[in-house]
């Protein structure tokens, strides 16, 4: 046989059968963000829940304005306001059971407070007297801290551990649109899906990472679409529609709790204030854009729905505002007191037992403090 004849005789075997690991269709997000308020779905929403959400939104907005005011008075080092995003913040807290865990991003003080953490203790990081002022185990809220997206694998690990222990616990992790570009976002979602961990990821897509718009962050059709690549469902929701966010998150939490695995939720919202009090947003966005989102305000959306259906009267609106004012007054009053600081605390918690090296340094500081006390300055 010639070489050509041999070639002609060669019949390649087909490769071993291939099939997709999961059907991608059911994982895909809807084409439009899901809405409840102002749609037929609103009629099915529990009025009591809507009223609770409303009261919390009003309170949350007031918390943001009060905290921002405290930065101007020098009582807070910095505050990243979530004004405009209150629906996400509040719905995240309310979608969880008591035994569940919340993993906030640095912007989510509102969610932390809505979950029950003391409003002053939630601010110690930003005031600067201690990093985490609250006991994470009291309300099952992970520490607020600033490295972006790093809380996501923590949530996955905790949810996984809970499942291993046979506990009926779900973790809800919050992250911003910018944070989705971090490697930890990818690794967390991948681990969550592989382990089928009972965890829900909520991305608050507020349009910006400081100054950088989403278009420079991703080329994905939507952030919710990213879920498909990990083999988990992606859900797209109007982040200013508190009823919709609450419903989507509650569904995802239920799914996680009953062994259905993780979900990625993208809530489309907008950061009305600058990145923080220290930022100048006029350098990267125009008033018209901000105004368009002000007209889609989460509090007004819910208020219109509730009043339109006779579920909220003048008195109830006033009660919500009074409650918010009382919270703000308490916050103001307590934040205007100087925090008590003990410099020796610096050495108290680095390790379970201070190392010999830290004991020496502690003695040095103690001596310095004593010299200060005696008024002695060299």
């Amino acid at each position: 046989m010639t070489v050509m004849e041999q070639r002609g005789a060669y019949k390649p075997a087909p490769p071993p059968a291939w099939q997709p690991r999961t059907d991608p269709e059911p994982l895909l997000p809807d084409a439009e963000p899901y809405r409840v308020l102002g749609t037929e779905a609103a009629a099915k929403a529990d009025p009591e829940l809507l009223r609770r959400l409303y009261a919390q939104l009003v309170r949350g907005r007031r918390y943001n304005t009060q905290a921002t005011a405290l930065t101007k008075q020098g009582r807070l080092a910095v505050y990243p306001s979530s004004t405009g995003q209150e629906a996400c913040e509040v719905a995240a807290a309310l979608a969880l059971e008591d035994r569940d865990w919340l993993f906030p991003s640095y912007r989510d003080t509102l969610a932390v407070v809505a979950r029950g953490v003391d409003p002053v203790e939630a601010l110690t990081l930003l005031r600067g007297d201690w990093h985490t002022g609250y006991d994470p185990y009291e309300h099952r809220v992970a520490p607020l801290s600033t490295p972006l997206a790093t809380q996501l694998p923590h949530a996955v690990g905790l949810a996984h551990a809970a499942r291993l222990k046979g506990d009926d616990v779900v973790a809800l992790a919050l992250v911003g649109d910018g944070g989705t570009s971090e490697g930890d976002f990818h690794e967390a979602l991948n681990f969550a899906a592989v382990w089928q961990a009972p965890v829900v990821f909520l991305v608050q897509n507020n349009g910006f990472a400081i100054s950088v718009p989403l278009a420079k962050q991703t080329a994905a059709p939507s952030l919710a679409h990213k879920a498909v690549g990990y083999g988990m469902p992606g859900r797209l929701v109007d982040g200013n529609d508190a009823a919709a966010v609450h419903e989507v998150l509650s569904d995802a939490v239920r799914r996680a709790r009953t062994g259905g695995g993780p979900t990625l939720v993208e809530a489309v919202t907008y950061r009305i204030d600058a990145h923080t009090n220290a930022d100048d947003a006029t350098r990267y966005r125009g008033d018209a854009e901000v105004q368009a989102w002000r007209d889609h305000d989460p509090i007004q959306l819910l208020e219109r729905e509730l009043t339109g259906r006779g579920l909220l009267d003048e008195a109830a609106v006033q009660a919500a505002r009074d409650d918010a004012e009382a919270m703000a007054a308490d916050l103001r009053e307590r934040m205007n007191r100087d925090p008590e600081l003990d410099p020796m605390d610096l050495f108290a918690h680095v390790y379970a037992e201070p190392t010999p090296q830290l004991r020496e340094q502690r003695a040095l500081l103690r001596a310095e403090l004593e010299a200060e006390q005696e008024g002695g300055h060299r």
């Binding site: 990093h131 551990a161 222990k165």
Partner: protein, 334 residues
């Protein structure tokens, strides 16, 4: 008196035994990492654990070091005691943000409310003919990160005892395993429960009167050989195995240097910004009046870890150690 069977065992076997005993003693101990399950790890240190304890206790994770350590943080938050394996020294770097920003800080951040009892096992060091990224000595990074304990065994018995102590610790421990000692053998009794060593104590491996070799991990054996060879030169060298870099055992180290009056720090890690600078400074600050000569360092060169065919020129060897000892101003004794 009962006689106990003392058989030769490798360091890798002692580490496996430590993991096994820790898992048997405490159901909250979970081993996780790349290839640690079915395969038993690329160095076989986790051999048999998945079979004995199930894959939920010894888990093959996705290939992602930040994810491994990041999820371990969450597991520790929920009361588990994760033992994480980083496959190689240089492949632990993707986990650095989790390590530095969270693992090392969580206890302090939360005023002690949320300790993270995580053990991070890192095979480290050279001398195994590894290609690039398989021979780094990264201990200086870990030492420079407050909140971590940094421990490294040099003997088979310590491999067991220190790993048990690391897993039992309520603080995060970076446990550096000298790769080239994995197959080193020693007589060791695996049935003696008192083997758990306290973290933070150095050990004098060889007493001597002339000078102290301060070393750890893979360099301990080299220093022992150097001390043996030094006898021909008339030097009686003491070898101190630090065992724990953080916390640092100033007491044992300084007692040794006060006895001998001379010290050489020996490690594979580069000297500039390396552990030796810290150790030399500590010794000088504490034992200045006992020193007959400046504290010297014998370290790897300050270069990216060399290709395997050149690594013997890089690693501190017996000759380089003896040359340093020769420079300890003996003439002054005259």
């Amino acid at each position: 008196m009962t006689t106990v069977a003392v058989k030769p065992a490798t360091m890798a076997q002692a580490l496996t035994r430590a993991l096994r005993d820790a898992m048997a003693a405490d159901p909250s101990v979970h081993v996780m990492g790349e290839d640690v399950g079915t395969l038993g790890g690329v160095f076989r240190v986790t051999d048999g654990l998945a079979k004995e304890f199930g894959e939920d206790r010894c888990t093959d994770t996705p290939l992602a070091e930040a994810g491994i350590l990041g999820t371990a943080v969450g597991m520790a938050m929920y009361g588990l005691r994760p033992v994480v394996e980083m496959q190689f020294d240089a492949f632990a770097y993707p986990a650095f943000e989790q390590l530095v920003s969270h693992v090392a800080r969580m206890r302090n951040r939360t005023r002690g409310r949320m300790p993270l009892p995580i053990t991070i096992r890192v095979p480290y060091g050279g001398g195994i003919g590894g290609v690039e990224h398989h021979s780094d000595s990264s201990e200086a990074f870990y030492m420079a990160t407050p909140g971590l304990h940094v421990v490294t065994p040099a003997t088979v018995a310590d491999a067991y005892g220190l790993l048990r102590a690391a897993i039992a610790s309520d603080d995060p421990v970076v446990f550096l395993e000298p790769k080239r000692l994995y197959w080193s053998k020693d007589t060791w009794n695996p049935d003696r429960p008192t083997d758990v060593e306290p973290i933070g104590r150095a050990a004098v491996r060889r007493p001597g009167r002339s000078a102290s070799l301060l070393t750890y991990g893979p360099s301990v054996q080299v220093c022992m050989e150097a001390a043996e060879a030094a006898r021909a030169e008339g030097w009686d060298l003491e070898v101190v195995d630090l065992r724990s870099l953080v916390p640092f055992d100033d007491e044992t180290v300084c007692a040794s240097v006060r006895r001998t009056g001379r010290a050489v720090v020996v490690h594979e890690s580069g000297s500039f910004g390396g552990p030796g600078g810290e150790i030399a400074a500590r010794v000088t600050e504490r034992c200045f009046h006992h020193l007959e000569a400046p504290v010297l360092r014998v370290a790897g060169f300050d270069l990216p870890y060399p290709p395997p065919m050149l690594e013997r020129h890089h690693l501190p060897g017996v000759d380089r150690i003896l040359d340093a000892v020769a420079r300890l101003q003996w003439e002054a004794e005259g």
